[in-house]
Symmetry: C2
Subunit: 328 residues, 2 copies
DNA sequence: GAGCAGGATGTGAACGCTAACAGCCATGTC
DNA sequence: GACATGGCTGTTAGCGTTCACATCCTGCTC
């Protein structure tokens, strides 16, 4: 920086002002500085800047298995929005989301000097870790806890599940079975709750939900069981991957979808439209979630007080394809 | 830090030594310092450290659409390996990989002070951007260019395609058709080349490959065309998502897989085992790729000279499921 | 023409850490 | 007992910025 200053015949401070678009710099001085910067190929050192401003312009993201479609899409949305706002994203991807892990990850990021943290951690255990955040650290949870000591951006899981269940009831099905997500997951719980409440609101019997863990295999196994049960005519599966597994099981058992069993998924992964048959499913707009996260977080950072905790709920969409049909 | 020093009755430098595991610190002094750190809840400031050491312990990752299974998995592997080595990962996810974009992303990361860069950019255009890297910036390309001015870690696409094609030939198919990936992609080219060379080595006719873009839709459209061609008995699809689309098209047209057409994919995404029928495919181990990237990059960073450029090729695996059968 | 506002620029310090060097003390050697 | 050795600790400077303040200059008002 001092090299640039010397070449342009100004002080280092003026160079700094040019770099930061300070208004009070004469335009010819500015031009001279920019010329010098260009000539020397100077790049400012953001680390030094971060040291003095105490702002790194880096946001930390803690997420569970970023290989999954949901987290991957959310992070993609977050990254796009962050970069647009001039922020970097530093990611920690966890294999297991127990509270200790999440806390370690946040510590790790804090030490690095992130300005805020986004936790994509839709599990109870992770949500618990969020209850004791380092004082004053701006944070946003995606699909997080219900407690109001941290801002939350989420997609309305209950509403999505209700949409799916109601769609099946509207088609004339007597009741709807459910292949659930893993118990510790908030999304799984929300979907379970939405399904149950839609059924109860319609005065229908609520069958025992089948356990699952998001994987196609779990869906397959649940599908095998359901295929043997004559009374089953409609199934709401907690995610598309399990729906694929169930579809596979039904095919193997000669159970026709949607003729004998109607099936609805959740997520609308890119593959869903090409399942056999194409899957009716609940769509989540992860881009919007990512954008909201950044909005909320930056607002928190700029207000720099603890502020109030926001709760942003994104409504899910519903995509009707060919895996559902009217009851016999 | 000086607070800690005062409380422990030592100098700030001794605190620094404890923090950095310097050998020459008496164990009771060390204990006293650790005690003070704990008591004050002190966290060291890595930004300040980065300023003086000129090492941020952050690695930049530039990638194309991190929503796709391949990139997402690679980045996951990279992140795990990096964290184990005590490095942070800063991600830039690009919507389009033209050279200017990639260069901008690298600039952006350089300014932030990353110690090295990993470019997950398997397109010709991106590879071109890698030819003019900032001097002295350690870098690794995943599936990158063939030119030897940057280290490369890749999975042997040619070999994978050969495996797939040969498997079909071994089953007695006269020749194998191919639904290709987008032309600009190095992986697509590798798979095309492997397929072609296997066919030529066996002295078979090489049909015109069908164009694709990795999406299920493209596979679906190609599948529709192939379904109408009686002479087609075996198809090698450049990735599993397109294979799913093709499968869908075949189902719609009443073409039985594997009875009438045998199908092989590439990637082994988690869904593949539950397609109808379960897909025979080429498996890529992205974890290993991620680990290799970090190894190569850290070696470059530590040697701090330009060093020699390494080229690490990971062999793909092959998973036989139910989408292939002997020719009629 | 004195006085003053405010734009443009420069000066010095500070951010929190590590590197380099200096100094102290106990131990061992001759 | 003098001296070297080496482990442990302290002192000082500096990394590349921005901040706060000081200074200079220009142009305006009365």
């Amino acid at each position: 920086m001092s090299d640039v200053a010397r070449l342009a015949g100004v002080s280092h401070q003026t160079v700094s002002r040019v770099l930061n678009d300070h208004p009070n710099v004469r335009s010819d001085t500015k031009a001279r500085v920019l010329e010098a910067i260009d000539q020397l190929g100077y790049r400012r050192n953001l680390v030094a800047r971060a040291l003095v401003t105490n702002r790194s312009r880096t946001l930390g993201v803690v997420s569970f298995d970023t290989t999954l479609y949901g987290p991957a899409s959310t992070i993609y949305g977050i990254e796009q929005a962050a970069r647009t706002a001039g922020y970097f994203i530093s990611i920690v991807s966890l294999k297991s989301l127990d509270a200790a892990n999440v806390r370690d990850a946040i510590d790790y990021l804090t030490e690095q000097g992130v300005d805020g943290v986004i936790v994509v951690a839709p599990q109870r255990s992770a949500a618990r870790a969020l209850e004791k955040l380092p004082q004053g650290l701006p944070a946003v949870a995606v699909e997080g806890t219900h407690r109001a000591n941290v801002s939350v951006v989420c997609i309305d899981q209950i509403e999505g599940a209700r949409l799916a269940t109601q769609h099946l009831l509207d088609l004339g099905h007597e009741t709807v079975w459910h292949i659930a997500g893993p118990p510790d997951w908030l999304e799984a719980e929300g979907r379970l709750e939405g399904w149950r409440s839609a059924l109860e609101a319609a005065g229908r019997q609520v069958p025992e939900p089948l356990p699952g863990d998001w994987s196609p295999r779990a869906g397959y196994e649940a599908g095998k069981r359901l295929a043997g049960m004559d009374e089953v005519t409609a199934v709401f599966v907690a995610n598309d991957q399990m729906a694929l597994g169930a579809l596979r099981a039904f095919t193997e058992e000669g159970v026709k979808v949607p003729e004998r069993i109607s099936l609805v998924g959740f997520d609308d992964i890119p593959e869903s439209a090409f399942f056999s048959p194409p899957l009716t499913t609940v769509r989540q707009d992860f881009d919007i979630v990512g954008r909201h996260c950044i909005d909320v977080l930056l607002r928190q950072i700029d207000s720099s007080g603890p502020g109030t905790y926001e709760r942003l709920v994104v409504r899910p969409g519903f995509v009707v394809r060919s895996s559902t049909s009217p009851a016999r």
